[in-house]
């Protein structure tokens, strides 16, 4: 693993207050509710730690609720993530964390698409080859054979489990 932190001083955002959920009185308590954006957001942001920092990915603005596209009827979810660092090896690990977290939390009928997106800011020059890197990371993250083979690598799984381990506050 890298000996120095790549992103030593990340910008930390405040955790968003969770919307209170008040179901209508006449709703059947045992009915299965369709999975929506907030639920996916809750699954992802609660316990995933950036591999380099103790803060959650939500606090680092890696995932935002509007970066989640979910259609429960067609069992499809697409999440776009933007790591604070452009280092592609971290992007792949974060992407895999997100995919594994979703795989473990959602019904098996779900099709998951994980997209890595590099923020294009006007006053920051985008490094050459950036879009190529983004495309390369996305191709790997969405190749089910590559993902399956990667998840058979015990070192990688250990790293992912560490990122996904619940933090007790």
């Amino acid at each position: 693993m890298v000996s120095e932190l790549i992103n030593a001083n990340p910008t930390v955002y405040e955790k968003k207050e969770r919307r209170a959920r008040n179901p209508p009185d006449d709703v059947d308590e045992y009915a299965v509710e369709p999975i929506d954006q907030q639920e996916i957001f809750d699954i992802l942001s609660a316990d995933i730690k950036d591999p380099e920092h103790p803060y959650s990915l939500e606090e680092l603005k890696v995932i935002t609720e509007d970066a989640i596209e979910v259609d429960d009827k067609s069992s499809y979810v697409r999440i776009t993530f933007t790591p604070t660092v452009e280092h592609c090896s971290m992007a792949t690990v974060i992407g895999l964390c997100l995919r594994v977290k979703l795989m473990r939390s959602l019904p098996s009928r779900y099709k998951v698409c994980v997209c890595y997106y590099l923020v294009n800011q006007v006053d920051i020059r985008v490094a050459p080859g950036t879009h190529a890197t983004e495309a390369a990371v996305n191709k790997q993250l969405n190749d089910k054979e590559r993902v399956a083979a990667a998840l058979e690598n015990p070192n990688l799984v250990d790293m992912l489990d560490e990122c996904l381990a619940p933090s007790y506050e």
Binding site: K111, K139, D143, K144, E145, R146, E152
Partner: protein, 298 residues
């Protein structure tokens, strides 16, 4: 009556349970399921095993006859029977290819082919059963010669693909090998008449009407003058070559694009196969299986 006038229906006859992880591939054993010989099927899985299923003469149900285990140490990704049905080759993420032979009622691993640097993705026997091809994430295609006593010798390591090679398939009648890859291309490999050296004789990329994303599978029709490929780009493509020219020893005829089938699947198409009767079956991540037949003018 041509195929287009017939109506087809896929009917599930049985669900085979036993594997404890994803089933990646299957292969029907040659010369079974016909002439009174019960059909036999091999399946391979993420549970590191291969299962052999046989249709019961009495009930017509498929039963698991053997579990080939304790050999591969990772997912078994691909399996293929030799043309005579005597041997079964299995390719695994553990970077090896195992060769199995039936001894009595059991299958024994009689040889282990090593050489790939990482996951083996596909295995394929040539029409005569004298050669075996394997490919993998290390971007290479290996050709192995079958020697007496179940010995295998590597005769060539083909480099050319720039990424993970997903599948290899031998032509049904000639010793021509095709491979398809994560690099979005399809390559055709043949032996140089004089020197017995294998080399790439054609690369089909996006600019030659090829695919724009990973090509997952390819399959030849029974006469070998056409092949079908499918891709992450959501299309199925049909290719044709002048086989007569090739068979007459007039050099290698290039594969040319015939048509592209799009709009039938809205997720990655992982599998395409051309049946003996001329039906193309495709399987995709949209959980659909589609059957295609040639139209009147095709």
């Amino acid at each position: 009556m041509s195929l287009i006038d017939e109506s087809f229906e896929l009917r599930e006859i049985q669900r085979l349970e036993g594997h404890t992880d994803r089933v990646w591939s299957l292969a029907w054993k040659p010369a079974t399921g016909i002439g009174g010989v019960p059909a036999v099927l091999a399946s391979c899985s993420g549970d590191k095993t291969v299962r052999i299923w046989e249709q019961s003469r009495l009930t017509g149900s498929f039963e698991c006859k053997a579990v080939l285990e304790e050999t591969h140490t990772r997912t078994v990704r691909s399996c293929a029977w030799s043309p005579s049905g005597k041997l079964l080759a299995t390719g695994s993420f553990d970077a090896t290819t195992a060769i199995w032979d039936k001894v009595g009622d059991d299958y024994e691993c009689v040889s282990t082919l090593e050489g790939h640097e990482n996951e083996v993705k596909s295995v394929s026997w040539n029409a005569s059963g004298s050669l075996l091809a394997t490919c993998g994430r290390d971007k290479s295609v290996w050709i192995w010669e079958v020697l007496p006593g179940n010995e295998f010798e590597c005769v060539s390591v083909l480099q050319g693909h720039t990424q993970d090679v997903k599948m290899v398939q031998w032509h049904p009648s000639m010793d021509i090998l095709c491979s398809c890859s994560y690099d979005n291309t399809i390559k055709v490999w043949a032996e140089d008449g004089d020197s017995d050296d294998w080399h790439c004789v054609q690369t089909i990329n996006e600019s030659s009407d090829g695919h724009s994303s990973t090509v997952w599978a390819l399959s030849f029709n029974s006469s070998g003058d056409k092949m079908v490929t499918c891709s992450d780009d959501l299309t199925i493509k049909i290719w044709g070559a002048d086989i007569m020219k090739m068979q007459s020893g007039d050099g290698i005829a290039p594969w040319k694009h015939i048509c592209t089938l799009s709009g039938y699947h809205d997720r990655t198409i992982f599998s395409a196969h051309w049946s003996r009767e001329g039906i193309i079956a495709s399987g995709a991540a949209d959980d659909a299986i589609r059957l295609f037949v040639p139209g009147e003018n095709d």
